[in-house]
Amino acid sequence: MNWLIDFFGDSANWSGPDGIPTRLLEHLEFSAAAFLIAAVIAVPLGMLIGHTGRGALLVVVSANAARALPTLGLLVLVVLLIGVGTVLPVLIPLVVLAIPPILVNTYEGVRGVDPDLRDAAYGMGLRGRQVLFQTLTPVALPLILVGLRLAAIQVVSTATVAAFVGLGGFGRFIIDGLATKSYSSVIGGAVLVAALALTVQFAFTLLDRVAVSPGVRLRQGREAEAAR
């Protein structure tokens, strides 16, 4: 507890290039950038594979690979290969690790839509793209959002570890604290990252409530209840 007071009480930590606000911005910038890039790549790809059914192997492989690839190792390797100082080397592992959750869940979401629904849509005369955007996507939205949420958290987490290879952000407090054996810095950093992760989690829960049609969300809830 003392450590927390020491850390957050120290006014030096609240200003300047090493201050909490600066670090927060750094962390957010990188996370947001990586997340958006990953989303732009993975959501359309997931929808395409889900809708056409081709390339499903890619999804499966990426899902398993993502879980097995060590974050730290990837970061260190890419930065060493490409060189420190530029944004890119850090961004690449961040994006690569964020793609699989989005890809898998978007694919599952589109794929998992009741085949009868798809049938009815085509039967009514909707074309492929219309079927995709007007029926499949809204129904698949909950799972797509799950994938996005998982990716966002993954990115926040990877960005934290990326402090080791020179990135700023909240991870800096932890890494620097470990190096200087300043435990208050370590704990302070940990709390900050935790708060950030939980805020992101919460934000997505809100987004889910807002974006997903009640007809879809409540039905899933009822099905989950019925399955008990």
């Binding site: 450590w3 398993n64 690979a65 879980r67 097995a68 690839l69 060590p70 974050t71 730290l72 190792g73 990837l74 260190v76 390797l77 060493l80 290969l81 060189g83 599952e108 794929r111 998992g112 085949p115 958290i153 926040v156 987490s157 934290t160 570890v161 080791f164 290879v165 991870g171 932890i174 890494i175 470990l178 435990y183 370590v186 704990i187 950093g189 940990a190 990252v193 935790a194 992760a197 939980l198 992101v200 989690q201 399955a227 008990r228």
Partner: protein, 224 residues
């Protein structure tokens, strides 16, 4: 970068088992222990907790929420927090990883038991099974495929996450990353990544094999 090859095979040979604490083989065994122990402990705890959540549904909501929160926290955060409790030891990695395993395995146990079709459960009751025997002989065996699926996820994640522990000096094969970074030397890093991925693939494969052997009756439903 400065003409350094990606892999220097002689380095691997020299450092495979040189008797020191940073020998690759030593790190490998340490990694295996730090990865599998949490999963094992997690399973042992998740089984009774999961059963409790199924028996007393009201427990599940808060439990699931807690698991969700835990899982969203980066591993480094938890390692940092436990540092004050268990210092720079393996325990600081093992305990948080156990929580991560629980976060996957408790829902797996609950979902597994929920996956038992109601008519199967009703039949078992109607034939005169007592609750304990029914659980052991009917419900748990039918729940195995789902639980094993969760076990695969937990195991692979665990294997990967151990490496982050290198930041506090306890990363198993992850220590190779720190080494490579500090010396600007690719080989240990590549070896580390390769071994971790191989370990994950092997563990996953073994679990799939186990599932085939344990549940010859199970046909996975393919997504439409």
């Amino acid at each position: 970068m400065n003409g350094e090859p990606l892999v220097r095979w002689d380095w691997i040979a020299r450092n495979w088992a040189n008797g020191g604490p940073s020998a690759i083989s030593t790190l490998l065994t340490g990694h295996i222990v730090m990865a599998f122990l949490p999963v094992l402990l997690g399973l042992l705890v998740a089984l009774p907790l999961g059963l409790a959540c199924v028996r007393w549904r009201r427990l599940y909501q808060p439990t699931a929420a807690l698991m969700n929160v835990t899982y969203s926290l980066p591993s480094l955060v938890l390692f940092s927090i436990f540092l004050s409790v268990t210092g720079l030891t393996q325990a600081t990695v093992i305990i948080p990883l156990t929580f991560f395993a629980l976060a996957v395995l408790i829902p797996a146990v609950v979902d597994g038991l929920d996956s038992v079709p109601d008519h199967v459960r009703q039949s078992a009751v109607a034939m005169g099974f007592r609750p304990a025997r029914r659980l052991l002989r009917v419900e748990l065996p039918v729940a195995v495929p789902v639980v094993l699926a969760g076990l695969r996820v937990a195991t692979v994640s665990s294997i990967s996450l151990v490496s982050v522990g290198a930041l506090i000096g306890q990363g198993g094969l992850g220590n190779l990353f720190i080494d490579g970074w500090q010396r600007q030397f690719y080989t240990p890093i590549v070896v580390g990544i390769a071994l971790i991925v191989l370990l994950a693939v092997a563990a996953d494969g073994l679990l799939v094999l186990a599932q085939r052997l344990l549940t010859p009756w199970f046909r996975a439903r393919r997504s439409a």
